[in-house]
Structure formats: structure tokens, C-alpha cells
Amino acid sequence: MTALQIEPRPAETTGSPIIEINNVVKTYDAGSHQVRALKGVNLSVERGEMVAIMGPSGCGKTTLLNCASGLDVVDAGTIRIAGSNLAELTDKTRTTFRAHNMGFVFQTYNLLPVLSAVENVELPLIVSGVSPREARERALEALETVELRQLGHHKPSQLSGGQRQRVTIARSLVNRPEIVWADEPTGALDSKTADDIMTLMETLNREHGLTFVIVTHDPGVGARCNRIVQMRDGLIVDTEVPR
């Protein structure tokens, strides 16, 4: 579990926010009417923190994650990641920024079925211009971190759900990001596998100081985070520390 050469960061939070979200508003056009998905959200996440965003369906959790990670743009408000204002970045620089600083884990894994596990993991490095040799080495290290190095040449279809999610976690780590965004990472897994995945994320957070923002419905997942942010109707309504 320690193979990944992530620059060591202190396990505890540093006190400096890595994510600063101020008065963010996001409206969707639903054809006949407008849907205000975020109605002025404020949130700050410290470096090395593991935050869960929870709330009922349609409350704006995933929209907040998408906007905060730069996958989507906001209508009003500002989002700063490690000091960079996302609104000031072009699509191209925002994409590069994501490639260098962020990792993503999705409920449906979103692995490319035609590539092997190691090829899936090295993909973010290859597109970032890392040399193929180094990319392969780092991908194998990332797979070792999630204890899947021996299955590196398997195609996603040859892996179980839990193994696939481990591969996506390895992919999210391989570019040595500061933040990993996870949208329902355990949503498609059975409870035992979900528990394993959460243990893995906790370890990465604890040992490598990675910041995790996890959107989830599962109170069990929330309970294992440093902080739970509760949302309802596009607003943050509560924040609690589970332990």
C-alpha cells in the first residue's frame, strides 16, 4: 500500500484551504424552465481533508463537484483551487490544470474497455506529455498502491467491480494530484467491496495527504470522512464532523 511515490504530505490538514468556493450559482436550462442547481454555495476545503458531500437526489451535490473540479462552469461566484481562479482559465488551460492537479473516481468506473488496466491508468500521464517509459512505471506503481499490479494487463471486462474501482482510483492517483474528486465511488459496489475501497481512500488520505471530495448517498461513507457537508435545494444546509 506504499508503492506510490506521492510527495509525502502531512496527514493532518495544513490549515490552508485548497478549495475555496464563494457564492457559486449554477442554473440549467431545462427547455421550458430554468433549474437553479446551486443557489450561492460557499465551501472551503483544507489541504489533506477528506470531505463528504451528502444530501437527497437533485440537491446539487454532483453539480457542485463538477463546478468545483472545473468540469463545468459557473454562472456566478468564484472557485479557487490551490489559489487558481477557475473562471480565469480557458477550456484548454483548465483541462491541463485538471490533468496535472486532479484525479477523478466515478460510480460507473468509466474505464476504457479496449485498454488494459495499466493502459487505462497511464492514460492521464500520456496525454500530459509524460514519457511513455515513465508513464508505464508510474502506472504500475499506482496499481501496486491499490494492490492490482499483477492484474495490470487485464482488460476491465476481466476484472470484478471492486477491482475496476481500484483501477479508477489508481488512475486518479497516477498524476500525483492534490485533489481526488469522487462521485458515488461505492455506489455500484457491494458493502464488503465498498468498505475495502473506503479503506483504501482513507489510507491514501492519511498516508499521502491527498485531499478527497466525495459525493455520496451512503452514510457509512460519510462517517469515514473528516467532515460531512449536507446539501438541500442547491444550498449547503449543514456541516458536521462525524468523528
Binding site: N66, K92, R98, A135
Partner: protein, 1096 residues
């Protein structure tokens, strides 16, 4: 055609009634189908375009046939006007040939009194209105105003009163031109002669008749027709005519009085209304000449005894011939269009399968809430029929437009004067047939596709999980279906379905597999016994395909199984023709084999590709330093070796070296891609995905590859065959070492061309290296083949002087066994009156428009044949036996060169003293033949001598062929639209299917350009596989055909690749594919990331 139209309209009616019934019986599912149409506008447009292709192709084929038929028929009616029958004693004129009916042999005159006798005999005939005596003499004419001279204007002497009685001539202005009203020394000039001489009304002309000259004045320019002296259709090269009263012409020509050279017959009715009475009228005249008027032509007319008099239904024959040509064109277009239609059917099938894939979840829900499978079929059929009715209309409009482009632009505008007669025409029947055929084909395909699409696993569909492909199992027997199935076998597909599937519950593989094997074996036996290749080859293909279907059902691994089947099919279909003959015996084959071979070769290549192309991903290596270039370097080495083998082979081994160059090209292209992957590692995942993604859905990728491949294959085979035939038949060696053909009119004073040139002071005489003279084909001799006396016919006999055999060095296409070279053949014919050389038509390697008799059982292989005997009998009864020991170059047009060539002694024995009207000239090395011909004509035109460069004659033929070929190729290229539309449908579908993946790729750092590139590479992979498999299959088949004696009929063709055309096919297909897929690929890059990640 009318029957076909009725059948198709009935089928269309059935299809519409079916859809109407569906609409009324289940309006909900009907609406469900129709409301899907506007859901994805762009995709719907592509679907309509794809479906319109079938109608486009059929409509274009029929309208082009209409146009050719109409243009030629109109020209035929214009040529004959009111002249319907021909009473001929100078052989059968060939009006449909490129050289027309003029200048064909020595003319024999008869006394015009025969016309009075005929008129008296048929005075009360119900159909015959008039007999027209004609006197035709070719003579040089000079325009005194412009100085232009033509050596052989056809002087047409007509009986003014008789001609005027049936309408006379027509001025170009459309007014009537009466010959009776012509004043002394006035003549009418035909439009063609006026153009040649740059003459107009009022110009003075000099007619040169022997040593005499006569001055006349042009009273007016009349339309080209038989009566105005034009003896061929508007595309022919016949001379123009000059019309004057028959008595005046006789006087000018120094004839003693009464001579005529032809009699035509005008029937009662208009120009276009007499065809129905022609046969009966001709029969009555024949009966009269055989009975009461038996001695008319010999006794009254003075015709030598034994010379046959024929009554020819010339107008009816020519009109029928032109209509046949129109039908032939339609057939050719339909056969060639079958490639596009086959591709179109695949596209329709694929479109509906993909539409079903897109709507899988909602179909699952529909099934979950109680919809039956038939309801889903109904909704798809409703949707499909709406598409196809609209697409049919668009297809008709596009088909007419395509036909216009092909005939009016490619043929008429680009093809030049030869095609000036082409006039656009479409009949209602053609449009109805085109529309109905297109819609009916679409309907049938849609029904089958809908049945396939309606198979959904409800849970998997709703949850968007992959379908589990459990093999079909045996179901219990249902006797009611067995009982119903037995009588239903009268409609085999229905009977088989009911009896075996529904009745006995057998899996399809157990039904179709054994059935295919049995059918295949029966077809093989049928083909073998009838010596017909089509059933034999089809059977040979069905057996492995059917056996594989059974083996697959028995769980044989798919990849090795289908790869082996593909390889077996490819090996069989690409087998060199001669090897096939050796292994399986000789078969007869026709153009339908082109379509079958195309489909089978494409099937074989597609199977090999879809099951093995994934290996290409191993070429894309990165991250291993120099090692990553290993694959590229290996490929380059392979390309180098292939090139080296190609160079080493050169022109030997039947041009096999060219195929090695093609392999080298393919390896080089692959090496470049592998090298790019090594050099730009960020490309590697995209390249791997480009290969792997399409292959993850073999069905639709295979269908698209096959569509492309089929069209590219047809274009490639066509290009290869035409280019090689053009080169072989009309290339440098085609003229057989002859440079000029110089022909003197019958009355010309020029008997010795070099002497006449010398006399005139022409410098060209110094450039002549050799000269030989021949007679020109006159009335035919009767021939029968030695040992096959039942094979008799008529053919031209040509006598030649000694110089023809010894001075010209004419090369030959084939030699009889035992002769070393052409020189030894010519030498034998010169010295021995028992030997002869023939043109290629006699041994079936070329076509003689005038005489189409062919010796049986003579085959030319590797330019050699076994000598054979001809028994020749002149109409006067003289006979002798000739042994054929040589065959002229097949490329030389039969109209000029066709005949049995014998020496002077043999000719004299059979026909009497030869009149040498034709002189062949071999020029010194490097002399410009076209210029030399011009000089000969300028020196001797006024003495009735015409000269043509043989190369120019061949070049003109080549240009005409190329105009036709361009039209055919453009027509076939229409099919590319099918492939491109198919690729577009796949590309759009891929973007929809993989939205989430696109979102993920963008999330982890893929820039928009990289996403576009990834999708473009995927589409490119499919297009490239289709294009290359089509090119490779087409080139190999072309090579195999061209090196087979049974295909080339013994002609020795050195295979050469038409590289520019092949590269154009590859480049254009690929460029259009990229253009089509760029749009959806760009759309993929613009997918909003967050939205894409949410997408389900």
C-alpha cells in the same frame, strides 16, 4: 418493362397496404415509430440519404437507358426518313457501325429499269408507297470559296419526282427542299458535307470525277439522311453527301444510262409509323423476287448471275438495334449498380439495427409493460416505411440528376462530338420502376432488420447491460406448425421457417447450415454439368460458409473458424483463372460473375479483418526507446523486400511485380503509422482505441467495412481491367506496325500511292519505309470451317499484293503452331495461295461489325493456335480451301481490317482481277503519322484519296471508350455515398454511445482536439480497412483475370497497375470519409464534460 412496372407497383401497393393496416390496427405503435423520426434530426437526414441510394441507382440506370435509347432511335429515324426498306445487291450495309455503311467494297451497278418493274408489280400494294432508285458515287469535292477539299463526298443521285412524292428532303431551316426544283448545275449539300467543306448556300463547288471536273453551286444545305448521301448515324465517321438528280450524276460520271447502285422502298405512313408493316412488305418483295420477278435483277438489271439480292428491313432493324443498345445500357447499369444496391441494403440493415440499439432501453420498457415483439416490429416498419417513402422521392430526383450528369455532362460535354446525339429523356415507366424498386427493396430490408431488432432481453435492455448471447436451443416440436409448414414449402423461406424453426424448433444454425451445404453441393453439380461458373462458384462459397455456421453453433472458437473460412473463400475467388480451369475444368461466365466475385471477395476479406485486425494494436508501441520503432522498422524492411521482389520480377511472371509494389505500399503506410505511434507516444492510446473500439462491435464494423470494400472493389477492378485493356488493345503495339491507311475511291485514278505522291511533289514520299496494297471488302464470300461443315457463314475476302506481305512488317496477335514469327507467316501466305491470315473476329478475340462469323473450337493460348481450314466460295461459284495460319492485331477495327487475307493468286482464282483501293504505309522511324496523313490527303484529296493515321484511329477509339468508362465509373462511384453515409451513421452513434467515456477522457485531461482526433482515427480505421481490402481484392482479381487465357481469349496482356486511378480511388474515398466523420468527431469534442458524465 411494362410488366416489371406493374409487378413493382403491385408490390409497392402491398407494402403500403401492410403499413396502412399496421397504422389502423395498432395506431399507438404506429405513432411510436413515426415519432422517433424527428428525435435526432441529423441522424434522420443520414438515414434518408442512405435509403435514397437504392432508388437513386435504379432510377439513374433506367433513365440513362431511356436517354441512350431515345437518342439513338431518334438518330436512326432521322437517318432513314421515309426510306424503310433496302433492296441490296452490294451486301448488307452496316449503318450502326462507327464507320457507317459507306466505302464498303466495290459497287456493282444495275439498270434502273428494275425500279419501274418493281413499281408496276407492287402498284396496288397496301403498304408499299414508292421505290426509290439511288445512285451513289464517292468523289472528291472542293469548295471554291474556301479552298477546302474532301476526298470522298458521297454524291447521291436521286429520282427527283419519286423522292418528292414521299416528302423530298428537308433544309436545315426545316423547310422542304425539292430536288425537282433544282436548277441546272445546282445541288444540295448535306449538313455534314457543308461542315466538312465549310460551305454554305451559294458557294461554288468542284466535283472531281476521274480526270474530269464539274462545277456546281450549292442551292441549299439539307439535313443529313440516307437520301442526302449520308450513310451512317450521326456518331459515325461517314462522309457528307451531295444531292443531285440521278440523270445529272450519271452524266457527270460518264455512265451510259440507267445505272443505279441501290433501291430503297418507302412504306405508307409517317417516319415513325411504318415499322409494323416492314416485315410483311419485305416478305412480299422477296416472294416476288423469288417467283414472278426471279430474273429481274439479272436479266433486266444486268446483275452478274449468282450475286444475291437481299430485301432488308433497314429502318426497323436499326431502330430495334438502337433499342437493344438502350436496354443493354440499362442492364449494364443495373448490374454495375448492384454493388451499390448491395451496399445500400447493408446500410439500411445496419441503420435499423443501430436505431434499435439506441432505443434498446425504451424497447425494453415497452416489452416490460406488455408490448409483444411484433409490436416492436410494427413500430420499426412504420418508421422505416416513412423514411423509405420520402427517401424514394429524393432518390428519384437524385437519380434523374445523376443520369443527367452521366449522359449530358460526362458523355456529351466531356466525351466530345462522338456523343453529340445524346439527348436527355426519361419515361414515366422508368421513374415509376425506379421509385417502386427502391422503396420495395427498402421495405423488405426494413422488415428483416426490424425482426432482428425486436429481439431484446427486457432486463438487460432496461438496465443497459450487454445482452447475453446464449446459443439457441432445440425447442419442443409443435405439430400444428409442422402441418402448416409442409404445404408452405411452396414458398421456400416461409415453409422452412414454419416447418423447421416453428415446427421442429431447430436452431437456425441447424436449419441454415445443412440447408446451405446441400444447396451448395447441388449448385456445384449444376454448375459442373452446365459448365456455368455462377452456380459452381456460388456453391463453392456456400459450402464453407454454411459448414462454419454449424461449427460455430457447436461452439468452435469464432476467430480461427471465421478466419479460416475467410481465407478459404479468398483463396478460391482470387485463384488465377488458368489454375481454376486446371483444377475444376472450363466454365462459361458472364458479367454476373463480376458482382458475385465482388461480394464473395469482400465477405472473405471482411471476415479476416474483423477477426484479426486487433493484432494491429501490437504495432503501436511506445516507451521502449529505439525498441518502440521495432515494428515500424520491420515493416519498412518488409516494404523494401517487397519492392526488391517487384523490381526483380519486372514485367515477367504476368506482371506479378506490380502486386508486390502494392504490398510494399501497404507495408510502408502501416510502418508510417507505427512510426508515428513510436515518435508521438501520446498518439498511442488513440491509435489503439481506433482499432480496438470498432472491433468491439464486429457486426456493424464488418458491415461498414464491407460496404466500403464492395464499392472500392468494383471501382478498382473496373479501373484495372479498363486500363490494361486500353493499354493492350490501343497501346503502342496495337497498330501492328502500320502507320497510315490510305483509301482511294472506286473511280479514283490513283492506283499507286507513292507514285502519285511523287508526281504531286509531296515531300511525304521520302518518309515512306514500306507500302502494301489490298482490295477492300466487297460482297462477301461464303465460308465453312473444315471439319465443321455445319459452321458456315459469310465473310469478307481481301486480296493483297506481294509488297503487303514483304514490305510492311505487320505484326500479328497470334501465329499458327509451327511458325516462328509474323514474318514467316506473311512469307508463307505470299508464296502459297492455300494460306490465309484472318482478323481477330474469326477466332473470337475481337469483333467485326460487318461480318460476325466465327470459327468454332479454335482457341488462342499464349498467342498460339492450331491452324484450321476454311472452305471459301465466291458468289460466282469459284471455291478453294485456305489454311489459316495467322491472326491480325485484335485491336485493328474490323470495319476496316476485317477479312480473310489471301495473296493475289488466290484472290484472282476466287474473284478475278483485284482492284487495289487500299494502301497501307509504314513510315520511317520518328515520322509523325498524323502529319503524314494530312500531307497525303492534301496532295491527293482531289483525286479521291483519303489517308488516316492508324494511331489516330486507335486513339479516337480509346477516347470514345474512355468517355463510356468514365460514365460507368462515375455511376459506380455513386455507391461510395453509401459507404460514407454508413460511416457517418456509425460515427454519430459512437459519439452517443460513448458520451460518458468522452466526459471521462476530458476530465482526466484530454483536450478537445485529442478527442476529435481519437474519433477521426476510429472512423479512419474503418474506412481504411474497407478501402484497402477493396483495392487489394480488386487488384488481385484484376490481375488474375488479365493473366487468364479464358478471360482474355488468348490475348497476351502484360499486367500494369493504373496507379494514378488507384490512388485517386483511395484518396477520394478516404477524403470523403474524413469529411463525413469530422462532423460527429468535432461534436464529440464539444460534448459538455459534466453533462456527458451524467449521461445514461
Amino acid at each position: 418493362m411494362a410488366t416489371i412496372a406493374i409487378v413493382l407497383v403491385s408490390l409497392l401497393g402491398v407494402a403500403l397496404l401492410t403499413v396502412g393496416y399496421l397504422g389502423l390496427s395498432n395506431p399507438t405503435m404506429f405513432r411510436f415509430g413515426l415519432r422517433n423520426i424527428p428525435r435526432r434530426g441529423l441522424q434522420s437526414v443520414l438515414v434518408v440519404v442512405g435509403l435514397a441510394l437504392g432508388t437513386l441507382i435504379t432510377t439513374a440506370a433506367f433513365v440513362t437507358g431511356d436517354t441512350v435509347d431515345h437518342s439513338l432511335t431518334k438518330d436512326a429515324y432521322a437517318l432513314f426518313g421515309r426510306q424503310d426498306l433496302d433492296i441490296s445487291w452490294n451486301g448488307e450495309p452496316e449503318y450502326f457501325s462507327d464507320t457507317g455503311a459507306a466505302m464498303r467494297g466495290e459497287q456493282v451497278f444495275v439498270d434502273g429499269a428494275v425500279v419501274d418493274a418493281l413499281e408496276a408489280a407492287f402498284a396496288g400494294d397496301e403498304a408499299i408507297e414508292a421505290f426509290q432508285p439511288m445512285l451513289r458515287i464517292a468523289a472528291p469535292v472542293t469548295n471554291l470559296r474556301t479552298g477546302d477539299a474532301k476526298p470522298a463526298i458521297q454524291l447521291s443521285g436521286v429520282d427527283a419526282e419519286r423522292l418528292d412524292r414521299v416528302g423530298g428532303l428537308t433544309l436545315t431551316s426545316g423547310e422542304r427542299a425539292s430536288v425537282t426544283d433544282l436548277r441546272e448545275a445546282n445541288v444540295y449539300l448535306s449538313e455534314r458535307a457543308a461542315a466538312d467543306l465549310h460551305a454554305m448556300a451559294g458557294d461554288g463547288l468542284t466535283i472531281h470525277l476521274g480526270d474530269d471536273t464539274v462545277h456546281v453551286r450549292v442551292a441549299g444545305v439539307v439535313r443529313d439522311e440516307l437520301a442526302s448521301g449520308v450513310l451512317g448515324m450521326s456518331f459515325s465517321s461517314v462522309a457528307g453527301g451531295l444531292v443531285l438528280p440521278i440523270e445529272t450524276l450519271r452524266e457527270m460520271a460518264g455512265l451510259e444510262g440507267g445505272e443505279i447502285s441501290a433501291v430503297t422502298v418507302s412504306l405508307r405512313g409517317g417516319v415513325r409509323t411504318t415499322l409494323g408493316s416492314a416485315d410483311a412488305a419485305a416478305g412480299r418483295i422477296r416472294a416476288y423476287l423469288d417467283g414472278e420477278g426471279a430474273g429481274l435483277f439479272t436479266q433486266t438489271g444486268g446483275l452478274p448471275a449468282g450475286q444475291p439480292v437481299e430485301v432488308l428491313t433497314m429502318k426497323k432493324d436499326l431502330v430495334e438495334e438502337t433499342q437493344l443498345t438502350g436496354n443493354f445500357m440499362t442492364t449494364i447499369f443495373l448490374v454495375l449498380g448492384m454493388f451499390s444496391m448491395a451496399a445500400g441494403v447493408m446500410l439500411i440493415f445496419m441503420i435499423f439495427v443501430m436505431l434499435a440499439a439506441e432505443r434498446r432501453a425504451e424497447m425494453g420498457i415497452a416489452r416490460a409493460v406488455g408490448a409483444q415483439r411484433r409490436h416492436l416490429v410494427q413500430s420499426f416498419v412504420a418508421e422505416g416505411m416513412a423514411y423509405s417513402l420520402l427517401a424514394g422521392l429524393i432518390g428519384v430526383v437524385l437519380g434523374v440528376a445523376a443520369s443527367y450528369g452521366l449522359t449530358q455532362v460526362l458523355l456529351k460535354k466531356v466525351g466530345g462530338d462522338y456523343f453529340s446525339l445524346i439527348e436527355m429523356k426519361m419515361t414515366v415507366t422508368s421513374v415509376v420502376v425506379g421509385y417502386s424498386l427502391g422503396v420495395v427493396i427498402t421495405f423488405i430490408t426494413v422488415v428483416f432488420a426490424s425482426m432482428k431488432a425486436s429481439h431484446v432481453n427486457i432486463v438487460a435492455a432496461i438496465r443497459q447491460l450487454p445482452d447475453a448471447h446464449a446459443p439457441e436451443s432445440k425447442r419442443k416440436t409443435r405439430w400444428k406448425w409442422v402441418i402448416a409448414g409442409v404445404p408452405a414449402l411452396i414458398i421456400p423461406p416461409l415453409g422452412i421457417w414454419w416447418l423447421f424453426r416453428k415446427g421442429f424448433g431447430l436452431a437456425w444454425a441447424w436449419i441454415l447450415g445443412p440447408l446451405g451445404i446441400v444447396l451448395g453441393v447441388l449448385l456445384i453439380l449444376l454448375g459442373k454439368s452446365s459448365e456455368t461458373l455462377f452456380p459452381f462458384a456460388l456453391g463453392m462459397s456456400l459450402v464453407p460458409l454454411s459448414a462454419a455456421a454449424v461449427a460455430r453453433h457447436l461452439k468452435t472458437p469464432a476467430r480461427p473458424l471465421w478466419t479460416i473460412v475467410g481465407a478459404v473463400l479468398a483463396a478460391y475467388w482470387l485463384l488465377p483463372g488458368d489454375t481454376h480451369d486446371q483444377l475444376f475444368g472450363k466454365f462459361n461466365a458472364d458479367i454476373e460473375m463480376f458482382v458475385l466475385s465482388g461480394i464473395m471477395i469482400v465477405v472473405s476479406f471482411t471476415l479476416i479483418i474483423v477477426f484479426n485486425a486487433r493484432m494491429l494494436t501490437s504495432l503501436f508501441r511506445s516507451g521502449e526507446g529505439v525498441k518502440s520503432y521495432g515494428a515500424a522498422m520491420l515493416l519498412v524492411a518488409g516494404a523494401g523486400a517487397s519492392t526488391a521482389i517487384g523490381v526483380a520480377l519486372g514485367d515477367s511472371a504476368d506482371g506479378l511485380g506490380e502486386l508486390f509494389y502494392l504490398v510494399a505500399g501497404l507495408l510502408t503506410a502501416t510502418a508510417l503509422v507505427a512510426g508515428a505511434a513510436a515518435r508521438f507516444p501520446s498518439l498511442t492510446p488513440a491509435l489503439k482505441m481506433a482499432v480496438a473500439y470498432p472491433l468491439s462491435n464486429r457486426f456493424r464494423t464488418g458491415m461498414t467495412i464491407a460496404m466500403f470494400s464492395l464499392i472500392v472493389f468494383s471501382l478498382t477492378v473496373f479501373s484495372v481491367l479498363l486500363a490494361n485493356f486500353d493499354t493492350a488493345f490501343l497501346g503502342g503495339d496495337a497498330r501492328g506496325n502500320l502507320d497510315l491507311v490510305v483509301t482511294a475511291n472506286q473511280g479514283s485514278s490513283v492506283k499507286d500511292v507513292p507514285a502519285a505522291l511523287e508526281e504531286s511533289g509531296s515531300p511525304v514520299v521520302a518518309e515512306i519505309a514500306g507500302v502494301g496494297r489490298t482490295t477492300i471488302a466487297g460482297a462477301p464470300v461464303q465460308v465453312s470451317q473444315g471439319g465443321r461443315e455445319d459452321n458456315t457463314g459469310y465473310y469478307a475476302l481481301i486480296g493483297a499484293d506481294d509488297a503487303f506481305f514483304s514490305e510492311l512488317g505487320t505484326t500479328l496477335d497470334a501465329l499458327a503452331e509451327g511458325y516462328r514469327d509474323a514474318e514467316s507467316v506473311w512469307s508463307a501466305v505470299r508464296e502459297d495461295a492455300g494460306f490465309a491470315v484472318v482478323d481477330g473476329s474469326v477466332v473470337g478475340i475481337s469483333f467485326n461489325e460487318a461480318y460476325n462469323w466465327t470459327a468454332k473450337g479454335v482457341t488462342v493460348e499464349d498467342s498460339r493456335f492450331t491452324p484450321f481450314v476454311l472452305n471459301v466460295t465466291d458468289p460466282s461459284g469459284n471455291a478453294r480451301t485456305l489454311i489459316v495460319i495467322g491472326v491480325l492485331k485484335a485491336q485493328l477495327p474490323g470495319a476496316t481490317w476485317g477479312g480473310i487475307y489471301v495473296n493475289e493468286t488466290a484472290y484472282r482464282e476466287l474473284r478475278g482481277e483485284p482492284l487495289y483501293q487500299r494502301t497501307y504505309v509504314r513510315l520511317d522511324e520518328g515520322v509523325n503519322a498524323r502529319e503524314a496523313a494530312r500531307q497525303v490527303e492534301s496532295a491527293l484529296a482531289v483525286r479521291g484519296v483519303q489517308a488516316e493515321s492508324v494511331q489516330v484511329i486507335l486513339d479516337d477509339m480509346k477516347a470514345q471508350n474512355q468517355a463510356f468508362n468514365r460514365m460507368f465509373q462515375a455511376f459506380m462511384a455513386l455507391g461510395l455515398v453509401v459507404g460514407i453515409a454508413g460511416l457517418g451513421v456509425i460515427a454519430f452513434r459512437s459519439v452517443v454511445e460513448r458520451r460518458q467515456q468522452i466526459g471521462m477522457l476530458r476530465a482526466i485531461g484530454y483536450q478537445r482536439g485529442t478527442v476529435t482526433l481519437t474519433f477521426l482515427l476510429e472512423s479512419s480505421f474503418i474506412a481504411v480497412m474497407g478501402i484497402l481490402s477493396g483495392v487489394v481484392g480488386g487488384v488481385i482479381l484484376g490481375w488474375s483475370l488479365l493473366t487468364s487465357d479464358s478471360f482474355t481469349e488468348g490475348a497476351d496482356i502484360a499486367f500494369a497497375m493504373p496507379w494514378p486511378e488507384i490512388l485517386l480511388v483511395i484518396g477520394a474515398s478516404f477524403a470523403f470519409s474524413l469529411a463525413m466523420t469530422w462532423w460527429p468527431s468535432r461534436g464529440a469534442a464539444r460534448v459538455p464534460v459534466a453533462e456527458a458524465l451524467r449521461y445514461e
